[in-house]
Assembly symmetry: C2
């Protein structure tokens, strides 16, 4: 590429007003009284959102298609004979009374980037596919569309979705798909160049450090466990402290020390204890059982394994000292998903082209990129969330950051064209 051509490319920008209007228009579908959005996957509002998207990609003349998992794609075809496909996008579904940016920004910024490339008549050496993944938020299953596209979907998942089997069956029927079509939606990774996803940060790191762009080095793995301490029920008056087998005290010590271990040894990992319950339901009996949910997230499987070993040792040590039993039951496991270095470099070059400040960081939330990273070279990037608020009507990202995000998406696509 000639220096002059390169300079021209780096000066291309998206159409700000078109992007902001699309965001505002889409937010009307499923709008709630307090400014939020409820567009649950598989619902009527989801279908309205999908129809809006299908209609919206008609005028630029993109090739429109859906797959067996109801993922929607709008493709800007390349004339190159050996063209692979670069996929860009996110999801249009929301949580109940969620915000206007989570997911929607990623799809609409990708669409805006594609439309800008078409407007400017820039020939790409790859097909550019803007995607809307089905049910990222997990109204019924979670990352449904990206599980299907990457071939990670299993019959077992379809049998036991978190929203219940009946909701899944009815939902698939709503969208005109079936278990069989979803399981058959796997794409051939050899035909895919890579994947980019833009998302709001849903955290405070960019705001706190006054950064424009977070370049996501990977999505944390999540280990979810059920922890149980068992002791011996006994009279809460006549049983001296020194001889108690108090299950609640075992749980409490574990939680405090697990938190301290996480902070001291595994920073920036996170660890959360929830849903604690104890037995029996009496003021005056030393509790013989305490059970709680433990969830911890870290950047690589190796680090998660190390945390798990340390946490299990901690539990056994406490149980042994307090004369309790300690049980660790795996509830679920979501693998860490590191980004592809070439895709990270493309994002950083794009931000540099735009004069935007950026920093590498991990994502502590799950996204479709998690599935895509283990399938094709992928990377995602963040723009700031005001006050870090998300999954909430108050979710907000400033116009300038919306525009920055779409321009980084545009420039990253063009960076890939240079490679």
């Amino acid at each position: 590429m000639a220096a002059c051509e390169k300079l021209i490319m780096e000066n291309i920008r998206i159409n700000n007003q078109r992007l902001l209007k699309n965001l505002a228009d889409l937010a009307q579908i499923g709008a709630t009284a307090d400014g939020g959005v409820t567009r649950l996957a598989f619902s009527d509002e989801d279908i309205q959102g999908r129809n809006w998207f299908a209609e919206r990609v008609k005028s630029p003349g993109f090739d429109y298609a859906t797959d067996g998992a109801a993922n929607q794609s709008a493709v800007l075809k390349s004339s190159h004979p050996d063209a692979k496909t670069l996929i860009v996008g996110s999801h249009l579904d929301t949580v109940f009374n969620g915000g206007r940016f989570d997911g929607a920004l990623g799809v609409l910024a990708a669409l805006e980037a594609a439309q800008t490339i078409q407007d400017q008549e820039i020939p790409l050496p790859f097909h550019l596919e803007v995607i809307n993944f089905t049910d990222e938020e997990g109204s019924v299953m979670g990352e449904f569309g990206s599980h299907a596209l990457t071939g990670a979907m299993t019959e077992d998942q379809l049998e036991n979705p978190r929203g219940g089997r009946d909701a899944l069956v009815a939902g698939m029927q709503n969208l005109g798909i079936s278990e069989a079509t979803a399981l058959g939606a796997r794409r051939n990774p050899a035909e895919i160049l890579g994947f980019f996803e833009l998302h709001i940060e849903q955290g405070m790191r960019l705001k706190n450090e006054n950064l424009d762009i977070g370049v996501v080095t990977g999505i944390v793995g999540i280990r979810s466990e059920w922890i149980t301490f068992r002791g011996k029920a006994n009279h809460a008056g006549t049983t001296p402290m020194s001889v108690r087998q108090d299950a609640v005290m075992g749980a409490a010590e574990f939680m405090v020390k697990a938190r301290d271990l996480t902070n001291e040894k595994f920073n920036p990992a996170v660890l959360t204890c929830t849903q604690i319950e104890s037995k029996p339901a009496a003021f005056n009996i030393v509790p013989n059982e305490a059970r709680f949910a433990l969830e911890f997230r870290h950047g690589t499987e190796d680090l998660l394994d190390e945390m798990m070993i340390d946490l299990k040792n901690l539990g056994h040590t406490i149980a042994s000292r307090l004369n309790l039993e300690f049980e660790w039951d795996d509830a679920s496991d979501c693998r860490a998903a590191p980004a592809a270095e070439n895709m990270l470099v493309a994002l950083e070059s794009a931000a540099n082209n735009l004069g935007l400040s950026h920093q590498r960081m991990m994502s502590f939330a799950g996204h479709d990129t998690q599935m895509m990273s283990n399938f094709v070279p992928s990377a995602m990037f963040f723009v700031p969330s005001e006050a870090g608020i998300s999954h909430n009507p108050k979710e907000y990202t400033q116009d300038k950051d919306v525009i920055n995000g779409a321009n980084v998406m545009l420039q990253a696509i063009l960076e890939c064209a240079k490679q």
Copy 2:
């Protein structure tokens, strides 16, 4: 009293076989398959137990009476013109699938002591009243009979008994009493000389130190509270550890530090945390609420006040550091009940007369003596419980300890006669 007469008195012993047979006979009423007893207050089994008691006291010719709270009394009358009444006894009701000794031993040992005094034709300067208190265990209210007798019963307690208002109304009807008769059952303390209660220890201290008799210096006060920590629900992935307002972590820290404080500063006090629950019910949300029951017991109201201040300070300190709210709600309060020194001395003299080893100790469980101590000079004493087990079919006290207990009761009554 002449030296010779004193020696004769100190050599009087109860009828071992009669006492053991009474214990065995009574244990048949409400007997459970695994050797325990279910004789819940106000139930048909309770009525059978009461009928057995009323029948049992006929042949010695005791004056039998019941009061407005259905407390049963068998009185050995004194011929002394200014005779007050010494009350001795405990309760015949049990918990669900409880043991054969808790309560029953106290009533039957008192009865055996009275019958021995009658057999030996020993004139007493006071009326000797063997009592069976109604609903000590709290199937419906707890220490019902002793609340009524001491005038501590309130209309509010009758409105909100722990077993529910309906159970109380039906139960009182079963026993032929009413709210009005119960509230009217208060006795005149000026006419009562004092109260002794024998009970099994329900703990391990006597066994551990190889002692025969525990002389109870007082019954601990019990403070019951509901503790709530409130924080902020947030994404369990994207919220860094350092900025969380995690209510469960606040509760866990409080529980561990409250236990340590109790052990280090307030030994032998006991502290128990139970019934913990947290919100919301999700793996992936930092919990915004944790609530649990806190109960602590110590020997005097002053010590309980000091513990309460320290525990409240602890809660506020933790809440402040973790950016949480801390709530302390009083659930109930049972006043500490110190024994009367002259009654303790009588018990110690009795044990000395019998050559039994004894030690002063606190009671960490509630008993009718708790109500009686704040009404008339009272004291209770313990005999060993095998393995400290109680409220359980495995509850067991050896025959020799049963007999020791009844002999101490007999000798303590005779010690009072000397005073």
